[in-house]
């Protein structure tokens, strides 16, 4: 499983990297970026889902 941020949709609300700082970071404009290649395991997938459920722009996608 992999998490990705749609850079077109992200507007930098900052929810993802606040909720799951081990999975997401921010760039120089404050937009969300995925750390590394975004691979998820059973320990991290729930946090990624929580971030997804809090993104106001629906910009986070989890690929099965």
């Amino acid at each position: 499983m992999k998490v990705v941020i749609d850079r077109e949709l992200c507007q930098g609300h900052g929810r993802c990297f606040s909720i799951a700082p081990s999975i997401f970071d921010f760039d120089e404009l404050g937009n969300g970026v995925v750390i590394g290649d975004g691979s998820l395991d059973e320990n991290t997938v729930e946090m990624a889902r929580l971030a997804q459920a809090n993104c106001p722009e629906h910009a986070i996608f989890i690929e099965e």
């Binding site: 507007q11 609300h13 990297f17 921010f26 120089e28 106001p56 722009e57």
Partner: protein, 402 residues
């Protein structure tokens, strides 16, 4: 204040300055959402008020039909001499694409989480200073004696203006946001001292550059060129207006909530780990900011025949109470886990200062409840709410308990 006819039906004659709307808008919005869901008015030269999260999001993301050139509803839509598109008077909030993106890219690096988070110790000190002044008092006003000082203090330091000028800024913001019913010929001259103040500050920063947002704006280059003077000035106005009243209102609403909901206060005191969730729920439930758009051309929106230059009051706070978007939307749930709220707007105009606002809100509440673990409204009837597009309590008389 000019006399206004009382609103008979908000569905066909809404007015966001109506005393009932100012006192408690939520039942009005819930009713409109079920009945309309886009309300209309002939006031202010014609306007619309969508109440569902889906429609608010749709309009916020439709920059082809809806312009941001004017974001505060008033009676004088495009007066002579109004700042022209695409920049508008306070870029980037008043800018449309493609200029908007340029102005926003200038601003965002200075407000990114990395930069903003470094301000936390200063904000904490500022809160502590104002709380020290309240030591030993059983009764005080958490609005006028605490909440209203925090954001002016932060913004003044950020822009590099003298700290003693904080009071001036509260007056300026009142002028822009609250006095929308004054006729143009009375309203415009009131801005003159603000214009002169900014000129003085810009001159001072040009002579004595320093590490603050004003010097940053004066020196930043886009495509090898410095920003136009009206761009620098406009962004400074935006920082002042958007950075003060908004956050102060959010802090005030949160303290008002805690003063009137003892169980939530107790949880927050005993479980500091839920603070992050609580801040988001304060933002959802008491979102202070409503923005406006104007129609670029005639446009049919979900059966509404919108006309060129009509207003759209973009009710992010109403979207945040939409049951189609939030479970138990009308309930304040202090540890709500799923909270896609739109308090900072949606789309390309997401509040540029949201990282700072969130930090100020969290620190202001943390410091307050550290000093006062128990407090309640001393006089619920004495609480007054700001009129206009920024909602928050201006007076919060409380009694602290031991």
């Amino acid at each position: 204040m000019t006399f206004k006819a009382p609103v008979q039906d908000f569905a066909t004659d809404w007015d966001h300055t109506d005393p009932r709307w100012v006192a408690n808008p939520y039942p009005i919005w819930d009713d409109l959402r079920e009945r309309c869901p886009v309300a209309h008015t002939e006031r202010y030269g014609g306007g619309w008020f969508p109440t569902t999260h889906e429609m608010v999001s749709e309009i916020a993301n439709d920059v082809e039909h809806f312009s941001s050139r004017l974001v505060v509803v008033n009676h004088n839509k495009f007066p002579e001499g109004a700042p022209p598109a695409p920049m508008g008077g306070a870029p980037p909030i008043t800018s449309d694409p493609p200029f908007h993106q340029i102005a926003r890219r200038v601003m965002l690096p200075a407000l990114s989480p990395g930069v903003v988070n470094a301000l936390e110790p200063q904000i904490r000190d500022l809160c502590a200073k104002h709380l020290d002044a309240l030591k030993g008092q059983e009764y005080f006003d958490a609005g006028s004696q605490y909440a209203q000082f925090i954001s002016p203090g932060v913004i003044t330091r950020m822009l590099g203006f003298p700290e003693e000028d904080e009071d001036l800024f509260r007056e300026f913001v009142h002028l822009v946001l609250d006095l929308i019913d004054l006729p143009t010929e009375q309203r415009v001259p009131l801005f003159e001292p603000l214009v002169q103040y900014f000129t003085k500050q810009i001159e001072d920063h040009l002579e004595n550059p320093r590490d603050d947002f004003t010097s940053y704006l004066l020196n930043v280059q886009v495509g090898g060129k410095r920003l136009a003077p009206e761009h620098v000035r406009g962004t400074m106005v935006l920082t002042l207006v958007a950075g003060i009243d908004t956050t102060w209102s959010a802090i005030g609403s949160s303290l008002w909530h805690l003063a009137s909901h003892p169980r939530d206060l107790e949880r927050l005191v005993n479980e500091p780990e839920i603070m992050g969730l609580a801040v988001e729920e304060f933002l959802r439930f008491y979102a202070p900011v409503t923005m406006a758009r104007t129609l670029k051309d005639d446009f049919e929106f979900h059966g509404c025949a919108m006309k060129k230059d009509d207003w759209v009051l973009l009710g992010f706070p109403a979207a945040n109470r939409d049951p189609a978007a939030f479970e138990d939307a009308g309930q304040f749930i202090i540890d709500r886990a799923h909270n896609r709220h739109a308090a900072f707007g949606l789309g390309i105009h997401r509040c540029a200062g949201s990282n700072l606002a969130r930090l100020e809100l969290r620190v202001a509440i943390e410091e307050f409840i550290k000093r006062f673990a128990r407090f309640e409204l001393a006089d619920p009837q004495a609480v007054t709410w700001a009129q206009g597009q920024v909602r928050g309590p201006r007076n919060i008389p409380i009694r602290v308990g031991s």
